[in-house]
């Protein structure tokens, strides 16, 4: 049987007093695109960070391809929120993308030319080839997000955990990111992304995990991303629910698979 890309068993996290995540057990499919959806404070980013060991877990464990993270680190990539770093850092776009090659090329020697070319290719895939030598602080928000994505792509991971990849980017960047996601899915890789725009969940993703401190529902978008489940996740205070949620036919091929 195929191991899930990410499996959470009984995961709980607390920062101060109240638990942010309570006993979440969930498995992301071995490949394909999964959205983590829920209201503010639902613990979506925390779920990613706790899985990766970036915040301490109160209970439970996270398995990647059936193993602890330390055993399969090379196969797992992380795309943090853009706002989590200082973009005034003295580095060029290419140098940031190249950080994605260090784990494979080794940390204690200059990056060989071939590795640097891979980082450059990752920049090119997100449409940033012309900005390779630009200081990252001089890039727009959308361009910075693309550089972060390029660094993640340079990792050549099989599972990507992405924290709001579409936050604060313009339409062109959003399209560029979607194309990258589709390429990853076509290659049989898995992406688990925190996503805020309910209107595009069905368009971009095939699986969804609805979260509100606890796991509300999880499964294929077609059967899980329903007004009833959304009402449970958002506590019924969701203007979006007045509009019909776009539904895909059960069993229909997602757009990227048909290409």
């Amino acid at each position: 049987m195929i191991e899930p890309a990410l499996e959470l068993r009984n995961l709980s996290v607390a920062y101060r007093e109240a638990a942010v995540l309570r006993r979440v057990s969930w498995a992301a499919p071995a490949s394909g695109l999964t959205a983590i959806v829920g209201p503010n404070g639902a613990g979506k980013s925390t779920l990613l960070k706790a899985s990766l060991g970036l915040v301490p877990r109160l209970t439970g464990e996270a398995l990647f391809f059936g193993q602890p993270l330390s055993a399969v680190r090379r196969r797992v990539g992380y795309l943090p929120q853009r706002a989590s770093v200082d973009w005034e850092f003295p580095a060029t776009a290419l140098q940031v993308a190249a950080m994605g090659r260090y784990p494979r090329a080794g940390w204690f020697r200059p990056l060989p030319r071939a590795e640097l070319e891979r980082a450059r290719a990752a920049l090119a895939e997100v449409g940033m080839a012309d900005f390779a030598e630009r200081q990252i602080g001089q890039l727009s928000g959308g361009q910075q997000q693309r550089v972060f994505l390029a660094r993640a792509l340079a990792l050549e991971a099989d599972l990507y955990l992405m924290d709001e990849p579409f936050a604060g980017v313009d339409a062109a960047t959003e399209r560029a990111i979607v194309e990258v996601l589709h390429r990853l899915a076509r290659e049989g890789r898995a992406v688990v992304a925190v996503h805020h725009d309910l209107a595009t969940v069905a368009e971009y993703f095939t699986e969804v995990c609805l979260l509100n401190g606890e796991l509300v529902a999880a499964g294929p978008v077609a059967t899980t991303f329903t007004p009833e489940n959304l009402a449970r996740a958002y506590g019924g205070r969701l203007p979006m629910l007045d509009r019909p949620v776009p539904r895909t036919e059960p069993g229909a091929e997602p757009a990227w698979a048909a290409a």
Partner: protein, 308 residues
């Protein structure tokens, strides 16, 4: 003037030459390491650690005097200083953990506590029969005069070891400073790297105590890096540049204080570093004040021409 030229051209005799080289080695290490210390947001911790060396210096002096050792032995004094500086860093970390105190408040507290205890201990030192605190006040403002060859060797050796460690850890430290979460997911031992950065910071701090003094030693970790940052957007350029600027400031400042014996060495070194910063601030090609003003004027002119 002649003394300055002599000191700078290493013509002041073997001892002066060794002291100038030892100080320059310290500047080299402080400039390079300082880039990472500030990019990781640790400049205030470095300052707190420097102030927290004073109790250790005093305790080492007192213990040596009481036990019949040499209270002016530099390795002994620096070891004492490093010990209480390390405690100061741990105390600051403990106060910040769990959100008990904001980190700036915690560090101000460590500065006050360290320096307060140190000054109180200085009066104890003064009451000792072994001859006053003269040897110790030099550590507060820095006093290159009177440094011996073995002192210079110790400082230079410590600095060069720290520099070597920075060179080896260059890429892990760079990724850690830019994005600690990405570093952790990539499998870097983030805690141990931060610890290494802290230990290197302590090593460089105590290396600078004798020449620059504990009040101004942080200047050589912050100012050369800030100067280099004005001149380049790339870390692989910024770090060697900051190292060079730090070495120059330490070497030139030491020479200057030899020519102007009334000035403490720490002040001359820090002022040379700040003068270099001011020059870069004004004249840096991309980020300098003058370049910025010229660029703005040109853009305004072009825009007005377009509108016409």
């Amino acid at each position: 003037m002649e003394t300055l030229l002599q000191a700078l051209s290493f013509a002041g005799g073997h001892n002066t030459r060794m002291v100038a080289l030892g100080c320059a080695a310290f500047g080299l290490a402080a400039g390079a390491l300082g880039c990472f210390v500030t990019l990781r947001g640790r400049a205030l911790i470095a300052d707190a650690a420097a102030h927290a060396t004073l109790p250790g210096l005093c305790i080492a002096f007192i213990l040596a005097a009481l036990l019949g050792g040499d209270p002016r032995s530099l390795p002994l004094l620096l070891a004492g200083g490093a010990a209480t500086a390390g405690i100061g860093v741990l105390v600051a970390g403990g106060l910040v953990r769990g959100g008990r105190l904001r980190d700036d408040a915690a560090l101000a507290l460590v500065v006050s506590l360290g320096f307060g205890i140190g000054v109180a201990l200085l009066s104890v030192v003064q009451s000792l029969p072994v001859g006053g605190q003269a040897g110790l006040t030099g550590f507060i403002l820095g006093q290159a005069a009177g440094m011996g060859q073995s002192d210079a060797l110790l400082i230079g050796g410590l600095a060069l070891l720290a520099l070597l460690a920075v060179a080896v850890l260059f890429r892990p430290l760079a990724v850690l400073c830019f994005d600690p979460e990405f570093a952790a997911v990539s499998g870097l031992p983030v805690r141990r790297l931060d610890l290494a950065l802290m230990l290197l910071m302590l090593a460089v701090t105590v290396a600078g105590l004798r020449a620059v003094g504990l009040i101004l030693v942080v200047a050589l970790m912050v100012v050369p890096g800030a100067t280099a940052r004005l001149l380049t957007d790339r870390l692989p350029v910024m770090v060697p540049l900051a190292a060079g600027l730090g070495a120059f400031a330490a070497w030139f400042g030491t020479g200057l204080s030899a020519a102007l014996p009334a000035l403490p060495t720490g002040a001359t070194i820090a002022l040379v570093a700040c003068a270099l910063f001011m020059l870069a601030l004004l004249f840096a090609p991309g980020r300098g004040v003058i370049a910025f003003a010229l660029r703005q004027r040109r853009l305004r002119r072009d825009l007005l021409a377009e509108l016409r």
